[in-house]
């Protein structure tokens, strides 16, 4: 479905991505991990078109999308959840979900998307997506917008960043459900969390702008478990 061919990206002679080759097949749940500053978020932004590669090609569903802009990529079927969701004055949760769904969205469908991320529509649907919402709330709304988009490829940039541990437990549940209902699509998540890594079909370790290791979760996770690529679950909270 998605293929990155020899992708390079640099800013002012500073090479951030250095020759990444990667294929994400249909029905796959892929987690990209690696040390901070290794280029993970940049790679996600390159796939969405927020950044343009300085070398290489991006192929989506057999089509070269290297020169396509963000809007075109979104219309081709790629969605992107921001690490730090954007806030808007005056735009309500329902407005954002309608835009995500491509215009019209019945209230009960919006309610389904919100309840899937643990929010009650009655309390949230008319809330503005502004600074009155907590970090955990905007994060969940961000994920609800991705659910409403129903795209072939969904990319999540560190969904666990900036949320509290209670919300994180629900978040894992959401991704486990998405994994179950993948239905021909693909999910790419940038994450360090052991719980998310453990449900991956494939783990990709990105460091210094290059793929250092990749393979099935059962194989890769034990190899990286004691490195900074993996944040282990708190033993006390596990109970």
């Amino acid at each position: 479905m998605l293929e990155l061919r020899d992708i390079f990206f640099s800013v002012d002679k500073n090479e951030i991505i250095r020759g990444v080759n990667l294929t994400v097949e249909n029905n796959k749940f892929v987690v990209i991990t690696g040390p901070n500053g290794g280029g993970k978020s940049t790679l996600a932004r390159l796939i969405m078109g927020i950044e343009k590669p300085t070398g290489g090609k991006i192929i989506f569903d057999g089509q070269d999308i290297t020169d396509a802009d963000i809007t075109e990529r979104a219309q081709f079927g790629i969605s992107f959840a921001f690490q730090q969701p954007v806030r808007f004055k005056g735009i309500e949760v329902f407005d954002l979900l309608k835009l995500s769904a491509g215009g019209k969205l019945p209230f009960n469908k919006a309610c389904d998307y919100l309840s899937a991320v643990g929010l009650c529509a009655r309390d949230y649907i008319n809330r503005e997506v502004n600074s009155s919402l907590s970090g955990g709330e905007v994060k969940r709304i961000e994920i609800a917008t991705i659910l409403a988009r129903k795209t072939k490829l969904s990319i999540f940039d560190e969904p666990e960043a900036g949320i509290d541990l209670w919300s994180f437990k629900h978040l894992i549940q959401i991704f486990e459900d998405m994994r179950k209902n993948i239905d021909g699509g693909s999910i790419v998540i940038i994450s360090h969390q052991e719980r998310i890594l453990s449900i991956a079909d494939e783990i990709i370790v990105l460091a210094e702008g290059q793929i250092k290791n990749r393979g099935a979760a059962e194989k890769i996770l034990p190899e990286i478990i004691n490195t900074e690529s993996v944040l282990r679950e708190c033993e006390k909270l596990k109970r």
């Binding site: 969405m48 927020i50 802009d69 963000i70 809007t71 979104a74 219309q75 969605s79 992107f80 921001f82 969701p85 954007v86 808007f88 004055k89 005056g90 735009i91 309500e92 407005d95 835009l99 995500s100 491509g102 917008t145 988009r149």
Partner: protein
């Protein structure tokens, strides 16, 4: 029956959301002439003896009633000043919808200066909605200069929604209010300017009574080469709460000057102001583009949400 032509009906729809004759009291003014009036058992509308405007009198205890007083100008070259006085009795709960639409396809300026005075009785609640809109591409300017004076008696509440939608070439809006004990004033202003338009908006809110309060929020978008000046002043002369906020988006070569000011003349006066001017955040555009919107569509969504 209302004596309105097609252009006038379109202007009424823009400023008052009306597609037919409203229920309740109304006074329609078109090209300086009375185009229709209705009074109710509780709301009386009379012309001033000198013909300079109207008096609206709402009886004590009137609840859940509305008054519509839209004004439209569709002939080029009209310049008028209208004085409307609202006397709201005690213990009322009413909605007043005003607004002015100008369509000017000619070469002469069209100007409507509305002077509105509100005398709100004790324990009454008033929601006031005022929309201004201009259309027509003649060389003549569309000018609106509303002067609004509000006097709020004990424990009364006034909520004002002041909106300039688009197409107004020049406006000088002045709103003053004086509040007695326990009175509350809530203002939500939305200003959109484009082209070479100029908008001046001045508020002077005086909190005289104990526990009186005001919350004034003005949001503006200045596009093209337009200019906005927002001058929001709250004066606290008693134990009171006052908050003002100017929040603006600047685009193209627009210019915005925000001048918030506070004056506390009592040790228990709590006054706050906030002001922010900036362009649309790049991340906001990117987020909406990742949902499949073009950059222009994203910009429109952000602005319409901001000015909602």
């Amino acid at each position: 029956m209302l004596k309105l032509d097609e252009i006038q009906r379109r202007l009424i729809a823009e400023i008052a959301g009306l597609h037919k004759v409203p229920i309740g009291a109304y006074n329609f003014r078109a090209n300086s002439q009375l185009a229709g009036r209705n009074t109710t058992a509780n709301i009386d509308i009379t012309s001033k003896d000198d013909g300079s405007g109207i008096d609206i009198r709402v009886k004590d205890g009137t609840k859940n009633e509305s008054v519509h007083i839209p004004v439209v100008l569709s002939a080029s070259g009209i310049k008028e000043t209208v004085y409307n006085d609202f006397y709201i009795g005690e213990n009322c709960d009413v909605v007043i919808v005003a607004g002015c639409g100008i369509d000017n396809c000619g070469n002469q300026d069209s100007e409507h200066d509305g002077v509105h005075r509100f005398f709100v009785g004790k324990n009454s609640k008033v929601k006031y909605v005022e929309k201004h809109y201009g259309s027509g591409d003649g060389a003549g300017q569309k000018i609106l200069n509303p002067l609004t004076e509000v006097s709020l008696n004990d424990d009364s509440i006034m909520e004002m929604e002041m909106v300039q939608i688009k197409g107004v070439d020049s406006t000088n809006r002045v709103t003053t209010a004086e509040l007695k004990t326990g009175a509350k004033l809530i203002v939500r202003e939305r200003l959109m300017t484009h082209g070479a338009q100029k908008a001046y908006s001045t508020y002077k809110i005086t909190l005289n009574g104990e526990n009186s309060g005001a919350d004034v929020v003005s949001r503006g978008v200045a596009k093209g080469k337009s200019f906005q000046k927002l001058d929001l002043c709250v004066i606290g002369n008693a134990p009171c709460n006052g908050h003002t906020e100017c929040d603006s988006i600047i685009m193209d070569e627009g210019k915005i000057l925000a001048v918030p000011s506070l004056e506390a003349n009592h040790v228990d006066a709590m006054l706050f102001h906030e002001a922010a001017i900036g362009k649309i955040a790049g991340e906001q555009l990117i987020k909406l583009m990742t949902l499949g919107l073009t950059e222009q569509e994203a910009e429109e969504q952000i602005i319409s949400g901001f000015l909602k």
